[in-house]
């Protein structure tokens, strides 16, 4: 792996400095190869496992007798296993890989002693495996986003400490004088996460706070995993790959700065919006609502930044898989966040709280934004660490279309279903407030009617899930094929959707 001197020194001394930089990048890529590959392979494995649990849970919601006799697969456990597999298995493994690959490249710092990072990744995966096994066995803590039992969580903490330390060391010993925007986001995420996780584990699991203070800590933590870990990693990836693939600079450094700091200040107060109307003080609910609403600022600012960077180059979407996934993710980020800000408004929360609408929203964020961005990142990173191209453009195309259409159907379906559910659950009060006719007199709609009316939406959600599963399988096949097949030295073009003329020539 320490091929440090060889490539650069093998270059003709007359090589341009640009090419020297590229050679340096290839050394950096090579140093990240094994940890990145291990983490990404684990991530893809967890994606498949998480998808299986997703399908099981989704089927159970409209066909409750499906696998109904197996206690270890009861909905409450299968759904939890799904969440933990896709969050701590797929999403975090992918985050680690993308985060330190980006950090190494942007800091222009070779990753040293990468073998220890593999050890960290192994610990992390053992922890997640133990945790999910525990959930299925009935040891779940029943605290949302912290369900893994206490015999698994210390392993996660240890693994995280190693990965975090490594990324910071890589940054510290980097040669780059300028700290690029992606690096701010990654450093911030790495710092924020352990603080969130420790406070949550201590104040809810190990030394529980009294009463609903636990709930405040719980949702401060869980929402900040989304806002202060996954969002920064996703944005860091977009801020890197968008200009990188296009060969254009990010539109405005000043917008990046405003976007970063407004996210840092507002996002972490927003978590209380999960408790609107709940047994917590009114002022902290209002603070959460205000923060959720102020999130419009970083979201709009980032959207402008990304959009203005893309303007004039939308044609590249025809060719580049990375770009397609990244742009889909970036647009979804804007939509998910604006939707989230709207959901925090008390009168809209009155309708959508506790309904399937929230589930649609969460998948818009973690899947349509974060997961799609990770897919795009992986499509870019793998050829550079394996020095091989993706075997099949058809599989990439299948992957993109099934997951994109799948998640759009998913979100639209559950949003409609959730609103219907919420309106029915909250008649007659809502009907009175909205000036709607009281279809059921002044009595509340019987609960079973709300269940019946949402069944069709739950079924459509299962179909969209099957579509997304096809995409994941296509991705996994392509991934494994790429890893196992021998390097074909004849192939030097990237695997793209189409072959444009300008991509054949060297970069301008």
């Amino acid at each position: 792996m320490a091929s440090a001197p060889s490539i650069v020194s093998s270059l003709n001394p007359a090589t341009s400095s640009d090419d020297v930089k590229r050679a340096e990048l290839s050394e950096i890529d090579a140093s990240t190869k094994w940890p990145a590959l291990f983490l990404l392979a684990s991530a893809v494995g967890w994606l498949l496992i998480g998808t299986v649990f997703a399908l099981i849970s989704s089927f159970k919601m409209h066909s409750p007798d499906f696998l109904g006799n197996y206690e270890w697969l009861t909905f409450g456990r299968a759904r939890t296993a799904h969440l933990n597999a896709v969050v701590y298995g797929w999403s975090v493994n992918a985050s680690f890989a993308v985060a330190f690959w980006l950090m190494a490249r942007l800091s222009r710092s070779v990753l040293r002693h990468a073998g220890l990072l593999i050890v960290a990744a192994v610990f992390w995966n053992i922890g997640v495996t133990l945790g999910i096994y525990g959930i299925l066995a009935g040891d779940s803590t029943s605290v949302e986003w912290l369900e893994m039992p206490t015999y698994a969580t210390p392993l996660l903490f240890l693994a995280y400490a190693l990965v975090g330390a490594w990324a910071v060391i890589t940054f510290r010993f980097g040669k780059s004088p300028h700290i690029y925007v992606s690096q701010w986001y990654i450093l911030a995420a790495l710092f924020w996460f352990p603080w969130l996780y420790s406070v949550a584990e201590i104040m809810i699991i190990f030394a529980p706070a009294r009463g609903t203070v636990q709930a405040l800590v719980n949702w401060w933590f869980a929402h900040n995993v989304l806002g202060l870990w996954f969002t920064p990693i996703g944005l860091a990836a977009i801020y890197y790959f968008l200009p990188k693939v296009l060969g254009k600079p990010i539109h405005s450094y000043y917008l990046s700065v405003l976007g970063f700091w407004s996210l840092a200040i507002f996002y972490n107060w927003a978590g209380v919006h999960h408790l609107i109307g709940g047994p917590v003080p009114a002022w902290v609910q209002s603070a959460g609502i205000v923060a959720s609403f102020m999130m419009i600022v970083p979201v709009i600012v980032t959207a402008i930044n990304h959009h203005m960077t893309m303007v004039g180059s939308f044609g590249a979407l025809k060719y580049s898989p990375t770009l397609r996934f990244i742009v889909f993710g970036a647009v979804s980020y804007t939509l998910a966040s604006l939707q989230g800000s709207s959901m925090a408004i008390r009168s809209w929360a009155e309708v959508t709280h506790f309904t399937h609408y929230t589930v649609g929203h969460s998948h818009l964020g973690l899947y349509a934004f974060f997961t799609m961005v990770m897919f795009g990142s992986i499509y870019y990173i793998m050829p550079r660490i394996l020095l091989k191209e993706w075997p099949s453009a058809t599989l990439i195309s299948l992957h993109f279309w099934t997951t994109a259409i799948g998640v759009i159907v998913y979100v639209v379906d559950l949003s409609i279903g959730g609103v219907i559910q919420g309106l029915l659950l909250n008649t007659p009060v809502l009907a009175h407030k909205l000036g709607l006719p009281q279809q059921h007199g002044t009595d509340p709609v019987p609960f079973l009617v709300t269940v019946k009316e949402t069944m069709i939406y739950l079924q459509v959600r299962s179909y969209s899930g099957i579509l997304m599963t096809v995409g994941h399988v296509a991705f996994a096949i392509n991934f494994v094929w790429m890893v196992v097949r021998s390097a074909q030295s004849s192939k030097t073009e990237p695997t793209l959707f189409r072959t444009p003329r300008e991509m054949e020539v060297t970069a301008q």
């Binding site: 159970k60 919601m61 007798d65 109904g68 206690e71 009861t74 909905f75 409450g76 456990r77 939890t80 009935g138 040891d139 803590t141 029943s142 949302e144 700290i179 701010w184 450093l187 911030a188 710092f191 603080w195 969130l196 529980p208 009294r210 009463g211 609903t212 203070v213 636990q214 709930a215 405040l216 800590v217 401060w220 700091w261 840092a264 200040i265 972490n268 107060w269 209380v272 109307g277 709940g278 047994p279 917590v280 003080p281 902290v284 603070a287 008390r346 009155e350 709280h353 506790f354 929230t358 589930v359 659950l425 909250n426 008649t427 009060v429 009595d443 509340p444 609960f447 269940v451 739950l458």
Partner: protein, 225 residues
């Protein structure tokens, strides 16, 4: 590189602000809320969860009931929780923080695929209904999407006297066990139902009056806003 310390400070204070505001301030503000002693009844509310019910709460947790059921009632006028009779007491406030102070694990929940359960013990006094519903929700609630929990019961040979806890006499024909067998809840099933029966917030603490009531222009108008 020299901007790094500044960035670090900013990142630190950003999270510190919300940690202080959301977590610390509220821990200080109501983190040591005490039960209220009612002299007329000679009890301190909220009541301690009785032994079997406490074990039943663990069953509730391990089966993941929170993913379909909430345990937080919203105030009158915000959603229809109040109209559905989900509140166990005669106050407009819905669930208050003090209702949860005895709980080492607070199970507020976030989804209402099923109804709110905070006061199910007050709303559903019949434990037989609970057993039938758990055995197969279709029995008591046709069309429900709650999964069956037959593994909280056991079918066993009747030895000597039939058990008073047996439920097969109340089950429809298609669930009947073979002759000479009875269906009884196992220990987890009994504990879970004991927990459900214990779920009631009936005491009206002083803070349950902290609800905005629109001033009525004349007497005779409805109380709830």
């Amino acid at each position: 590189m020299n901007r790094a310390p500044l960035i670090f400070l900013g990142i630190f204070f950003a999270l510190a602000l919300s940690w202080v505001g959301i977590v610390l301030t509220n821990q200080i503000g109501y983190g040591s809320l005490q039960p209220v002693y009612d002299e007329d009844e000679g009890k301190a509310y909220p009541l301690q969860t009785p032994g079997l019910a406490a074990r039943g709460k663990l069953v509730y947790e391990d089966l993941g009931c929170i993913y379909c059921h909430t345990q937080q009632v919203r105030r009158a006028g915000y959603g229809s929780d109040y109209e559905r009779g989900w509140s166990g007491r005669d106050a407009l406030s819905g669930s208050v923080a003090r209702d949860y102070i005895r709980e080492s694990r607070v199970l507020l929940g976030t989804m209402r695929t099923g109804p709110d359960l905070r006061n199910i013990g007050a709303r559903q006094p019949d434990s037989t209904w609970q057993y039938l519903h758990l055995y197969d929700p279709q029995i008591t609630s046709p069309g429900s999407n709650m999964p069956p929990f037959k593994f909280l019961f056991e079918t066993r040979k009747i030895v000597g006297q039939p058990s008073p806890k047996a439920i097969q006499s109340k089950l429809p024909a298609k669930y009947q066990p073979p002759a000479g067998y009875e269906i009884v809840p196992n220990e987890r099933g009994e504990n879970l139902v004991a927990y459900m029966m214990s779920l009631k917030d009936t005491y009206a603490y002083p803070e349950t009056k902290n609800v905005y009531v629109e001033p009525t222009p004349e007497a005779g108008k409805e109380e709830k806003k």
